[in-house]
Amino acid sequence: MTNESLALVQVIITTLIISGTPLVLIGLGVMVAEQSGVINLGVEGMATVGALVAVIMVLHDSNPTLALLAAALAAAMVAGVFALVSVVWRGNQIVTGLAVSLLCLGFTSWLGQPYQSATLSLPRPSEIPFLAEIPLVGTIIFAQPPLVYWSLAMALMVGWSLNNHRLGWLIRACGQSPQSLYALGHSPQWIKTAAVVFGGAMAGLGGGFVSLYSSGIWHAIPLAGKGWIALALGGLAGIKPLRLVVFAYGFGAVVAGQLALQASGSGFGLSPHLLLALPYLAIILVLLLWSRRFKS
């Protein structure tokens, strides 16, 4: 392998991981909320709030862990407002979600103005001993920010609880028939609220990841639609977070591939901007194939 193509592979893998991880994080939250019966269209806004809070925190004392926790907390609070309006007060879920997204996108980009193009100095993520020494890909795969590995662990955890734990069954039962669950003496309202707040925290983590590790800089629209994509992927994956991981990394791969095509200048004669549509088309395609499979 030539040095050049090796560099390309490394870039592709890094891109894949860096653009897939926030989708995994946000998507896990979307998934849990959706299983409980709430479609959270506010997720893009919540993630953006997380992105801004992470930037502010990290500029303050450059501790990424603290920054990510603060991001999760802030976004969870926004999710609490969403749950209050849409679950407790029974406002229309979709309108509430859109309103929350608009509100957060607008205010964060306004409040984030002072941080415009402030560069974040983060400590280099430490390498995982031994594994990082694997030639060629070791330093790429095993020297990522810890949240990358945490996101995978959380995917396993969410998957395990949705499928094997009573808590997960309660959440799913809540989404399938809240009335029946109420009749069994549970409170669907609380379950939904908890699921939405969890979703908010995950969106905050995802947003924080984007601003700390993907862009490394604050700009007005940090998520650029990642929230909506995670919404689609989280819904598609149903109760299988590993499927979500595959989708998210697949999405990352398409993005990376599109970047590579752009860099190599070939692009099969297609405009690189048109290539940007590929990931979204891929989502639609998967969505359609999936629904079809479910129908038959």
Binding site: R166, W169, L170, R172, A173, Q176, S177, Q179, S180, L181, Y182, A183, L184, G185, H186, S187
Partner: protein
């Protein structure tokens, strides 16, 4: 020998194990006492003024016509419906705010007629959702069910009988002190029905109270020791074993169709349905009395699924039952509700003729009053009776050739029923053919020329 309103003695023997009342009910305190209980939806009372006590070990039947308030009554006991008035006392202590969580905590389990299960979960997962704070309590050994449910089977893949069994098992998993069964046997085979009877007996022997709704006499008759008969939301009759049963069950109907009118008529509708041919005579009111809800719905759908154009051509209109929620758009105003089933007189080429609709609304108001001020006020402000008048007059005043009504008088009080019956007679005398479906012969008979029992 009745004691304190309840029996000690002769117990009906059906199967090998006769019911024995271990506890003398007169010296035990009631498990549940309801007094002055009422549930109101808008201006309509679903139940009103119910006084009822259930004792430990008692098997109590709740009977009455469809829409008499049976399900509402047991839903109050299960905490699903909050009463608008009245007191609920459990083991001598007043229950202030009843909710399912409270009821479950007290030990009241409820098997819903509509089977509250979670289709996407497995049998075991469904069972795990039952709150189990009562596991330490003594529990009799119940007969095992004759069919086995695979615990990893998804509920969506179960058939109705298996679902019903699961619903019952879920209720039992909570180890209740009072078990409420709302039509528990509708889709059970005789084998499972026998099993359920055995379970009910064992439970009652151990002191668990059973409250049961069923339309099957064969389910109730051998089991129940006491019963309440509801009529239009009120407790019309109390019964205890040993008394005359006949008031609890509607009289058996003669299977033959009766023709009231003697003059020969021409048939206007030849209906091939369920492998039989049914002839509807022009200018008559024909009643169809069903014993099963599913058959009734099938009948209505068979006729109802004609295309719009075809329906308009033969001048056929139909009105679903007031309970189905399909007849009126409750959040919309009078004019919009009038336009739901608009034919050519109310709409032309896709455009509504508002003036004509307003005229029709005026005509309905003139005839029925309705007590609504503006045409834009949503019709959920109307009482149940007025809603049904509105829906019925909407169809009648558009002068169909044939009008099909699904349980038109369901849940209405006597006065409204009488006015409506009179109104139907009037329409008939002007040449309209009317088909009425219902579940109770008494409800249909007063104004039908001919009745089919299905």
């Amino acid at each position: 020998m009745p004691l304190n309103g309840l029996i000690v003695k002769p117990l009906y023997e059906v199967t090998t194990s006769p019911i024995r009342c271990y506890k003398l009910m007169n010296d035990s305190n009631p498990l549940l006492e309801l007094s002055g209980l009422a549930v109101r939806y808008g201006e309509l009372y679903a139940i009103k003024g119910i006084d009822l006590s259930i004792f430990p070990g008692e098997i109590h039947g709740v009977m009455g016509d469809n829409g008499a308030g049976k399900s509402t009554l047991v839903k109050v006991m299960a905490g699903i419906v909050r009463p608008s008035a009245g007191r609920i006392v459990w083991q001598g202590r007043a229950v202030k705010q009843i909710s399912p969580a409270v009821a479950r905590g007290l030990g009241i389990a409820w098997v819903d007629q509509n089977l509250s299960l979670f289709d996407g979960l497995t049998v075991a997962q469904n069972l795990a959702l039952v709150r189990s704070s009562r596991e330490s309590l003594p529990w009799p050994k119940l007969p095992p069910p004759p069919i086995h449910l695979g615990s990893d089977q998804r509920v969506a893949t179960l058939n109705t009988e298996q679902k019903q069994l699961l619903a019952i098992e879920m209720a039992l998993a909570g180890r209740p002190q009072m078990l409420i069964l709302d039509e528990p046997t509708t889709s059970l085979t005789p084998l499972l029905r026998d099993w359920l009877q055995g379970v009910i007996r064992t439970l009652a022997e151990s002191g668990c109270a059973i409250v049961m709704i069923s339309h099957r006499r064969s389910d109730l008759s051998p089991l129940i020791q006491t019963a309440s008969y509801l009529q239009a939301g009120r407790l019309a009759h109390r019964w205890r074993r040993g008394e005359d049963e006949s008031r609890l069950y509607p009289p058996l109907m003669e299977p033959q169709a009766v023709a009231k009118t003697s003059n020969p008529q021409r048939p206007i509708l030849d209906l091939d349905w369920q492998g039989k041919n049914w002839q509807i005579m022009a200018g008559t009111i024909t009643g169809f009395v069903f014993s099963e809800a599913a058959t009734a719905q099938d009948f209505f759908n068979t006729i109802g699924n004609l295309s719009n154009g075809l329906r308009q051509m033969i001048g056929l209109r139909r009105l679903p039952s007031p309970q189905s929620g399909g007849a009126l758009a409750l959040g919309l105003g009078l004019v919009e509700n009038i336009q739901i089933t608009a034919d050519d007189s109310l709409s032309r080429l896709g455009w509504l003729r508002i003036a004509a609709a307003r005229r029709l609304v005026r005509a309905i108001k003139a005839e029925a009053g309705l007590g609504i001020q503006w045409n834009t006020q949503p019709v959920n402000q109307l009482s149940g009776g007025n809603r049904q008048k509105l829906a019925l007059l909407r169809e009648l005043l558009q002068n169909p050739q044939i009008l099909i009504l699904q349980q038109p008088l369901n849940g209405l009080d006597r006065q409204v029923s009488q006015t409506m019956a009179k109104r139907l007679r009037l329409a008939q005398s002007r040449g309209m053919t009317i088909i009425v479906t219902g579940f109770n012969r008494d409800e249909v008979a007063p104004f039908c020329d001919r009745i089919f029992d299905v």
